[in-house]
């Protein structure tokens, strides 16, 4: 049971790390458009663009 004294504080730290990661993702604009990824999966286009061929 003593391991709890390590694991619980550790899990609390993890929560804060995850919260920080989410904040970063949010600020980088990943959540600005939630409609798009659902459609991207239907229609992706992997071909190179004309002027890069």
């Amino acid at each position: 049971m003593e391991s709890l004294y390590i694991l619980i504080p550790l899990s609390v730290v993890f929560v804060f790390v995850i919260g920080w990661v989410f904040w970063r993702a949010l600020e980088s604009g990943q959540f600005d458009d939630l409609d798009r990824p659902a459609h991207d999966i239907l229609a992706d286009d992997d071909r190179p663009r004309e002027d890069e061929k």
């Binding site: 619980i8 995850i18 949010l26 600005d32 458009d33 459609h39």
Partner: protein, 793 residues
């Protein structure tokens, strides 16, 4: 495939390898219409407004994509733009239909990019993103972060609370371990309180400073009290902790609020189109003989100046056609996409699109004075003012808040005596379980949507209390001239006096009027035209010309008498008729009895109103016999002719005294007192006068094109909107009446209270988002991408 053009586009799309568009699209496209040339956006003046430099040669712009029907369109646009040479970056937001685009100045031009979008059947135009989008994005990101912190915190806090819930007192959970869990819970709930609860605390603090209570007061109080009690128990090691409940409560509250904000923003975006009516610049002519002119910002125009409007361009301000004849698309204003003819002297409305020929327009009103700007202001005013019902609900919500605070205090004291340990939690549950928000938020969403819906049909709501009155209306008082009729003339009867038969007289009259633009000319319709030379116009009297039978005159009796001599023979005219005579040197030929033309959809409107259970009345200043004939023809049982404005006012008053709710439909200017007297008024203010009309609703567009069917739809939308609002109120009241005593009696825990409250808000918002009117039948003639996007909302 509707035409060869579509086929070409389809081929382009398929040839480029984008067949996938046709596989994934879920709605067919609109028919193409003429658009302003994209080249105007290469102008440095325009670029200064919209374009930002992203690198040495890289330029950046924000675009609004129009005519988007589904996600497949967005995908197609993005792929298409990405492959354009010179375009370095494209980002389309699927939720807002806005695009961020960067391009290399040396390799392409903005106009080429916009043209490319048009080539595949869409439209894009730049906008200034600094205005609102940044604010909205901040709000949205903040809301998401708060929601995430609360949700994640709640889930974790629950993990630490779980052992305490399971503990059966056998000593498996030692006191030291339990204390560890409590501290972990405290640390995890802290960010929830600090980050997620900011809006609640900020609002409650505002209220405190204003010495008022709002909906956030009990919530903030409940959260603060719950957290403080739990924190105290953690520090002292005695009593219960409920960190998990508090975090969960915050999460549920924020979740409901997030959905509500999203719904409101969507409704607001529908109104956003208003702000983008105006082009940003105009071609100003330095004088009447200046062929090309100079490019200036549209807001720099002043009344009296001349501007050149190329075909396809937007009209930059309100004005009058000075030179040239064309037609204009006023669909943004009226919802009607049929082109409107614009001969010299015709009024042009800023924001409409010139379709055929270049026009020189004399500006009458520019900038903030234009009709479009005035309508936008009216609509904003309507959106800002609150109907009586909503104000009542707000008062009720405030009272309810006070009741909640009092109940919470009483419950706390009672439980303190009965079971001290439970007292704070009962109080928290009472504070949280009530949902006065449903009272406060449901109505505004519904009203915004009703507003947008009506606007899409060409009806501007200028006072939002109108929705309420419109829904309650029992009687509709209709004016005749200019309302049920067009205020222009039609040939009712032709009386001939011997020499020529009726068709020959009409043909002669038509030929004489052919050269003139007098409103009467329309009455003679289309048909064969005879050779008329040397025609002269005598304003106020008539026209004269030389036809095959010699000199002929068309006009007033006195004017013709000079030619025909002798008194005009009796024509059998009634007072309502305008009589025009035709005569030549040999004598009187004919008398034309002209009558105000009935609107084509007047009969439909009356029938539709009756079908809704509304009683139509026809009250007019015209000759009683004419009014009676019209009323019989339209199936109106209640009518009054020869009515002065005072009579109309009294008529309206009489109905109201009999307990009827009166909706008055008139032409806005002559009927002003009656319109003000009626419970709700609709004005058919033609064109320029829309802004001045003292009416609750204004039917936009040139008077002749106004569509009466919109009025009938307004009744439907209003009734539906009020029904939804009433349902929401009923639900909110019933819920609170049941929940409050239950919570005070201790049957509801804090998290259950939060769940109930969130569910209650959610139901109300969902109900508010139901469609307000049946989807309009798809008609090619009335199709426009804008009305489409409204009806799908």
């Amino acid at each position: 495939m509707c035409c060869a053009g579509c086929q070409a586009v389809a081929r382009t799309i398929v040839a480029a390898g984008y067949e996938s568009y046709y596989e994934t699209r879920s709605a067919a496209g609109p028919t193409p219409r003429d658009l302003p040339p994209a080249a105007i956006y290469d102008d440095p003046l325009a670029q200064r407004q919209f374009v930002a430099a992203a690198g040495e040669h890289e330029r950046e712009v924000s675009l609004i994509l129009d005519r988007i029907r589904c996600a497949a369109c967005l995908w197609l646009n993005e792929q298409w733009l990405r492959r354009l040479p010179g375009v370095t970056r494209v980002d389309i937001n699927y939720a807002t239909h806005r695009a961020q685009l960067a391009w290399d100045e040396r390799r392409t031009k903005l106009s080429e990019i916009l043209e490319a979008v048009r080539a595949i059947g869409y439209n894009a135009w730049p906008y200034d993103p600094r205005r609102q989008d940044e604010v909205r994005r901040r709000e949205r990101r903040g809301a998401l972060l708060r929601l995430f912190v609360a949700g994640f915190g709640a889930a974790q806090a629950m993990m630490y609370a779980f052992p305490a819930y399971l503990d059966d007192g056998s000593g498996t959970l030692t006191a030291a371990n339990e204390q560890l869990m409590r501290w972990a819970g405290l640390i995890l709930t802290l960010p929830v309180i600090l980050v997620s609860c900011r809006p609640f605390f900020a609002a409650a603090w505002q209220d405190l400073r204003r010495r008022a209570v709002s909906l956030d007061t009990p919530i903030a109080l409940g959260i603060a009290a719950g957290f403080a009690a739990s924190a105290w128990a953690t520090f002292t090691g005695r009593g219960e902790v409920y960190f998990d409940s508090i975090a969960m409560l915050v999460f549920l509250l924020l979740g409901a609020r997030y959905l509500e904000t999203a719904a409101r923003q969507r409704a607001a975006r529908e109104l956003d189109h208003l702000a983008r009516w105006m082009p940003s610049f105009a071609q100003r002519l330095r004088g009447p003989d200046d062929p090309a002119g100079e490019r200036v910002a549209a807001h720099a125009l002043a009344a009296g100046e001349l501007v050149l409007i190329a075909p396809g361009e937007r009209v930059p301000a309100d004005g009058v056609v000075e030179r040239g004849a064309s037609s204009a698309d006023e669909s943004l204003l009226t919802g009607e996409s049929r082109p409107v003819a614009k001969p010299p002297g015709a009024g042009l409305v800023g924001g409409s699109v010139n379709l055929e020929q270049p026009l020189v327009m004399r500006v009458t009103r520019a900038g903030a004075e234009t009709q479009a700007a005035a309508i936008a202001r009216l609509v904003e005013r309507a959106a800002a003012a609150r109907p009586k019902l909503v104000e009542g609900a707000d008062r009720l919500a405030r009272h309810l808040t006070l009741v909640v605070l009092a109940t919470a205090a009483a419950a706390f004291l009672w439980w303190l005596a009965a079971a001290p340990a439970r007292a704070p939690w009962v109080a928290v549950a009472v504070l949280v379980v009530t949902c006065p928000c449903a009272l406060a938020l449901a109505a505004p969403i519904v009203l915004t949507r009703a507003n947008a819906r009506l606007l899409a049909r060409g009806l501007a709501l200028t006072r939002s209390r109108a929705v309420e009155a419109l829904a309650r209306a029992t009687d509709v008082v209709l004016d005749k001239t200019g309302t049920l009729t067009l205020g222009r003339f039609a040939l009712a009867r032709t009386a001939t006096f011997g020499a020529l038969d009726a068709p020959a007289c009409v043909a002669l009259a038509r030929s004489l009027e052919g050269a003139s633009r007098h409103p009467i000319a329309r009455a003679f319709g289309e048909g064969p035209v005879l050779q008329v030379t040397d025609s002269k116009n005598y304003p106020g009297h008539g026209v004269e010309g030389v036809a095959a039978r010699g000199r002929v005159r068309l006009g007033t009796a006195a004017f013709c008498r000079e030619l025909a001599r002798g008194a005009p023979p009796p024509a059998g005219a009634r007072p309502a008729h305008t009589t025009v005579y035709l005569a030549d040197a040999s004598g009187w030929l004919a008398a034309f009895l002209l009558e105000d033309e009935l609107r084509p959809d007047a009969a439909d409107l009356v029938a539709a109103l009756k079908a809704r259970g509304l009683v139509p009345h026809l009250v007019s200043g015209d000759d009683p016999a004419v009014v009676e004939a019209l009323a019989r023809r339209l199936g109106i049982e209640a009518f009054a002719g020869g009515a002065s404005p005072q009579d109309k006012y009294a008529y309206c008053e009489r109905l109201q005294r009999a307990g009827r709710v009166v909706a008055m439909i008139g032409d806005g200017l002559n009927d002003a007192p009656v319109l003000a007297r009626a419970d709700v008024s609709v004005a058919l203010a033609g064109g320029a006068d829309a802004a001045q009309a003292q009416a609750d609703l204004v039917l936009l567009g040139e008077q002749a094109q106004a569509r009466l069917s919109a009025i009938d739809e307004a009744f439907a939308v209003a009734r539906r909107a009020m029904r939804v609002i009433r349902q929401n109120f009923a639900w909110a009241l019933a819920y609170n009446v049941v929940a409050l005593p239950l919570a005070a009696a201790g049957f509801v825990g804090p998290w259950e209270a939060a769940l109930g409250m969130a569910a209650s808000s959610f139901i109300v918002v969902l109900n508010a988002l139901r469609p307000l009117a049946p989807r309009a039948p798809w008609k090619a003639s009335t199709y426009s991408s804008r009305s489409r996007s409204f009806s799908y909302s």
